[in-house]
């Protein structure tokens, strides 16, 4: 079937992004809005909006019944969940199926498997993917297991994700306490007290592979590097991953496809890997069973529209591309512009945008314009600025030029940090590890002290108000 009307069950830039593709495809959009978002830019871009509850996400964007009720009231053929919120929740996938509405995403069974880190790890092992030495811990044998793995070890929550429920243990004396605390926290936060131990690799890079599947065929759309992170939150992403070497790159892509085939993956998804640059080895981390924030860099080098492919797959079509149809041209980099203050420990900065200037002609995925509210209830992402070039150097220069033409007033942003990063030699050299951003922040802080006697790094783009 072809969808005539899609319920966009999300907010922020991804809502605007999904609406744009739907418009191009001639599909009507109805956007779910909480009370905080009734006059947002995505609400103005959608054909219609429908209220699903008060501002707090648990009472609106995380409420399965409200979302499915909105889909039925709107007469939607399908629900696009975006990322975050309910996008990987099998309860929404099942509730949509029960209500006769298509869920634009993987099957509920896949979501159950990928949502549980231990189950996902078992699938990865079965598909022949390398995983970090480690296993689930249950009390007493934690010490023996950690000794086998070797310190430092990482204690992970089975139900965690996106960096939540992780802690590094360097000293055997700290292990029992760390495992107990992690288990208690995981039980409270994720409803799942299971924790497991893994070898902690440092330095490490974070490289991921984009997949598309129709439930039978699975292809990859290349890799992305997301090593520029702070507390496991990605800040800059690029495609392809720089300085990887052909063997490693081919290995990562083949491994991701093998796992996708085992899962009989349907839709767009990402397999995340940890790359040990010293050993030239890679290890499976997790599967993100949704469209990702950083998908535009893949679109920039493949010329594809991933949301359009998601929709086509959810309409029940076979993949429209064979692996050999996918080609990669040039290099693309994306900066996440957030309402946060790097000079103040990345303190969030909710408020109202009074002016939003972006580079004309560049790809900017955003949900803010002059007058837009940045509510305290949701994440701080304001815009993604994406640049492509024939090579990485050209992409870097183009992105730096694009950021010079960005100005957001009314809330504090991290634009200054992005400018410093794009001017930094270590980033320009390529292939940075996940410890890079903290090193950059330390350098910038030291520079600020030298230049202004200021105690803090002052590279933030401070707006008015």
């Amino acid at each position: 079937m072809s969808f005539r009307r899609i319920l966009v069950a999300n907010r922020g830039e991804i809502a605007a992004r999904v609406i744009r593709t739907c418009r191009r495809l001639g599909i009507e959009t109805v956007l779910t809005v909480s009370d905080a978002d009734t006059r947002s830019l995505p609400a103005r871009l959608a054909d219609k909006t429908i209220r699903i509850g008060p501002a707090p996400a648990p009472a609106s964007y995380l409420d399965v019944d409200a979302v499915v009720g909105a889909a039925l009231a709107a007469g939607a053929d399908a629900v696009h969940p975006g990322y975050g919120f309910l996008s990987e929740n099998p309860l929404l996938a099942r509730a949509c199926a029960a209500a006769g509405v298509a869920f634009i995403g993987p099957s509920a069974e896949t979501l159950v498997s990928t949502g549980d880190k231990l189950a996902a790890r078992e699938h990865a092992v079965a598909a022949g993917l390398p995983v970090l030495p480690g296993a689930e811990v249950t009390g007493a044998e934690a010490g023996r297991l950690a000794d086998q793995i070797g310190y430092p070890v990482l204690v992970k929550a089975a139900g965690g994700g996106g960096g939540r429920g992780l802690r590094v243990v360097r000293d055997p004396a700290d292990l029992a306490h760390a495992a107990a605390v992690a288990s208690a926290e995981a039980g409270a936060a994720f409803g799942d007290p299971r924790v497991y131990l893994e070898r902690y690799v440092s330095p490490a890079r974070h490289v991921e592979v984009q997949l598309l599947g129709d439930g039978e065929q699975v292809i990859h759309l290349g890799d992305r590097d997301c090593s520029v992170q702070r507390r496991y939150q990605k800040l800059v992403e690029e495609a392809p991953a720089p300085l990887l070497g052909d063997d490693l790159r081919d290995g990562l892509r083949a491994a991701a496809v093998a796992l996708g085939e085992r899962l009989r993956y349907r839709g767009a998804g990402t397999v995340e890997f940890l790359v040990d640059p010293r050993r030239g080895a890679f290890y499976f981390l997790e599967v993100n069973a949704r469209i990702q924030v950083e998908h535009p860099v893949t679109e920039a080098i493949t010329g594809l529209d991933l949301v359009a492919e998601q929709i086509a797959i959810a309409e029940g079509r076979r993949l429209r591309l064979r692996q050999e149809d996918v080609t990669f041209t040039g290099h693309a980099i994306e900066c996440r512009v957030n309402a946060e203050d790097p000079a103040a420990g990345f303190l969030p900065s909710p408020g109202t945008v009074t002016r939003a200037v972006f580079p004309a002609g560049a790809r900017v995925d955003t949900h803010v314009q002059a007058g837009s509210a940045v509510p305290p209830h949701y994440d701080s992402l304001l815009a993604k600025v994406v640049a492509r070039g024939a090579g990485r150097g050209a992409a870097l220069r183009r992105l730096a030029g694009a950021l010079e033409r960005c100005a957001i007033d009314g809330v504090v942003t991290n634009l200054g940090l992005h400018r410093a990063l794009l001017a930094d030699g270590e980033f320009a050299a390529g292939g940075v590890d996940t410890g890079y951003l903290e090193r950059l922040l330390a350098r910038e802080s030291a520079r600020a002290v030298r230049e202004n006697g200021s105690r803090h790094y002052t590279g933030s783009g401070v707006g008015h108000g």
């Binding site: 103005r44 871009l45 008060p54 499915v68 009720g69 580079p359």
Partner: protein, 201 residues
């Protein structure tokens, strides 16, 4: 309507050959301002002015098996532990009154009592995790650096310190309620203020 990137690129191509530095286009539904940037290229300020078209809100749909659907996606399919996040969800849902709760009492610290203010607008939590014991209760002794609450802003948990040595005299917001920036979260009776601590509960 919304101009696509391709539309803007076409306009820029036309503008580049003209001696103008700025284009300001305004219709009832959108506004577009293009300016030559000092370092080369153009900047764009666009604003969609069209009002959203709201459908009548729907009634929540109770699909079989979806009843316990509230809560984060993270507990996907485990079923066992919705209680933890569920409790937070319900608490937050109860905060429908929104800013009113916090703003009403902002700065209303009574004589002799020190107010603990919300550092940022956000959701007020009395405990470190759903189900855990609260940081403090009325009557508890606190130091300046004692963590007395968490305010969650933009998915970030910010610890709130007492700021004053003394005893907790009043907790002004309910767990999960929304606090406006600067709203009074708690009142502290400073040490040595010579008054019995805390009103009876």
């Amino acid at each position: 309507m919304e101009l696509t990137n391709e539309d803007v690129a076409d306009i820029l191509a036309a503008l580049d050959s003209l001696p103008y530095d700025e284009l300001d286009l305004r219709t009832p539904r959108f506004r577009l301002t293009l300016r030559r940037a000092p370092g080369g290229g153009w900047t764009e300020e666009s604003q969609v002015l069209a009002d959203p078209v709201a459908l009548a809100p729907a009634h929540p749909h109770r699909a079989p098996g979806a009843g316990e659907g509230r809560g984060a996606g993270a507990e996907a399919g485990t079923g066992a532990g919705e209680a933890g996040t569920g409790a937070a969800a319900e608490a937050a849902a109860g905060a429908g009154a929104e800013a009113a709760a916090g703003e009403g009492r902002a700065g209303s610290g009574r004589a002799g009592l020190a107010a603990v203010a919300a550092p940022l607008p956000g959701t007020f939590y009395r405990a470190p995790r759903p189900g855990a014991a609260p940081f403090v209760e009325v009557g508890d002794e606190v130091g300046e650096d004692t963590v007395v609450a968490i305010v969650e802003t933009m998915k970030l948990m910010n610890s709130v310190h007492a700021g004053t040595r003394g005893r907790v005299a009043e907790i002004c917001l309910g767990n999960g309620e929304f606090a406006a920036q600067g709203a009074t979260l708690m009142l502290i009776l400073p040490a040595g203020a010579g008054r019995p601590a805390g009103p009876p509960a």
